[in-house]
């Protein structure tokens, strides 16, 4: 039996999926499948990157509508995987609303990689890609150090301001500034390789891939929105580096 409460839990699943990095098509599909499993006569789901609207008609003629506004994304593919399994389970077994809410809570509170691992990974990724694109060992070390600093900067700025563009401008500004300083003191050798290694951490790879996938599945609006966001993030990274050159004067050789 579809109640307001149950629909709200179903919306939770959809919302969490979208936030963790699912394509729009998957979110719409999951929500409408679950609603159909609970005997809805008709389900209309409309999802774009920033909002989910669900309107459904139950067998006894009641109409229920709920919307969700999505403000923040946090890629978490393990969560997506679990939510996906949960939604399959719900479709097959039609559990009580209480069970669903418990499961969602369980998924929300499960183990994540700790901050230490994250710092390490930031360093490793930055260093790896610096060498990947032709930097030497010095560059790799500098780049890894900047990568770790970048992680702390991201954590810090996100506490102050959640705006994606501001975060990216400031992050790339700090990466650029540190890179220039360390190259000028002679520790790093080539600024460009160091910068590229760190750009790989900021670049909106997931947004780009997902936007294309959305467009193929026919969700043109959602795909274009995501594409615009990806392009704006890329631009704001460039602005950050541009800002560095204003401060230090002609760092790019």
């Amino acid at each position: 039996m579809l109640t307001k409460e149950l629909l709200s839990y179903i919306m939770d699943i959809g919302e969490q999926m979208l936030v963790s990095g699912a394509e729009v098509n998957r979110v719409e599909d999951s929500i409408s499948r679950i609603c159909k499993a609970y005997d809805a006569k008709r389900v209309d789901v409309f999802t774009i990157t920033s909002s989910i609207v669900v309107s459904l008609q139950s067998k006894n003629g009641n109409t229920l509508t709920q919307t969700r506004r999505i403000l923040k994304y946090a890629t978490d593919l393990d969560k997506l995987d679990r939510l996906n399994n949960l939604s399959h389970y719900i479709c097959a077994h039609k559990p009580e609303a209480e069970y669903i809410s418990n499961e969602i809570e369980k998924i929300g509170s499960r183990h994540k990689y700790g901050p230490n691992v994250q710092y390490l990974v930031y360093g490793v990724i930055a260093g790896t890609f610096t060498v990947f694109y032709g930097g030497d060992l010095n560059d790799a070390v500098v780049s890894a150090a900047i990568g770790m600093i970048l992680k702390s900067v991201i954590t810090f700025i996100q506490r102050l301001d959640k705006n994606v563009f501001i975060v990216n401008i400031l992050c790339s500004f700090i990466v650029g500034l540190l890179g220039v300083l360390l190259v000028r003191t002679g520790i790093g050798h080539s600024f460009d390789k160091i910068a590229i290694g760190n750009i790989m951490l900021l670049i909106p790879g997931l947004a780009l891939t997902n936007s294309i996938r959305d467009i193929i599945s026919g969700d043109t609006i959602a795909g274009l929105l995501r594409l615009c966001e990806a392009i704006l993030v890329a631009l704001s990274i460039s602005f950050g580096f541009g800002l560095v050159s204003v401060f230090v004067g002609g760092m790019f050789k």
């Binding site: 990095g21 699912a22 394509e23 998957r26 890629t75 978490d76 593919l77 393990d78 969560k79 997506l80 995987d81 996906n84 399994n85 994540k112 990689y113 691992v117 994250q118 990974v121 930031y122 490793v124 990724i125 790896t128 890609f129 060498v131 990947f132 694109y133 032709g134 460009d192 910068a195 590229i196 750009i199 790989m200 670049i203 790879g205 997931l206 780009l208 891939t209 997902n210 294309i212 996938r213 467009i215 193929i216 890329a234 990274i237 460039s238 580096f241 541009g242 050159s245 002609g250 790019f252």
Partner: protein, 149 residues
């Protein structure tokens, strides 16, 4: 640089990103291996394909196929693997040079590198698009047959 070394670095890079995206368990290794495959195909493509864009295109197709297959094996969305595996192909270097030319007011190089960056992105996107469309059709056909026999 020695290609083998670069392939190993692609593996480490994708491994890093799969931890960053919070992939768990043995799925991490699938994703990291995907990154390795991506760069391997890209380098192999360089041996007989004439244009760099085709290299990116073919590589994206293979990686998407790989991710979809892994997704079927592990019963999880293909995004899980594709996201981290596609990372070595992402045009970070090209993006950087585009922007550095823009800042240095070297318009000709900027236009060159800008269109180069966009073409890489489009080539990768097209590769993903082709492979996942084919996969969709293939599975639609299979479930169609299943229903009618």
């Amino acid at each position: 640089m020695i290609p083998t070394f670069q392939i190993i670095l692609a593996f480490i890079g994708s491994l890093g990103f799969s931890i960053l995206f919070n992939i768990k368990g043995r799925k991490i290794w699938y994703a990291a291996l995907g990154g390795m495959v991506a760069w391997m195909i890209y380098l192999l493509g360089g041996l007989w394909l004439s244009s760099e864009m085709t290299q990116y295109f073919v590589s994206a197709i293979i990686v998407t196929f790989y991710s979809e297959l892994c997704a079927r094996i592990e019963k999880t969305p293909a995004t899980t693997f594709l996201t981290a595996a596609i990372i070595p192909l992402v045009p970070g270097r090209a993006l950087y040079y585009t922007m550095s030319y823009a800042i240095n007011n070297r318009i000709v190089e900027f236009a060159d590198y800008g269109s180069y960056t966009v073409s890489i992105a489009v080539a990768i996107a097209a590769g993903i698009m082709v492979a996942s469309s084919l996969f969709r059709i293939f599975f639609a056909l299979r479930s169609y047959e299943y229903r009618h026999h």
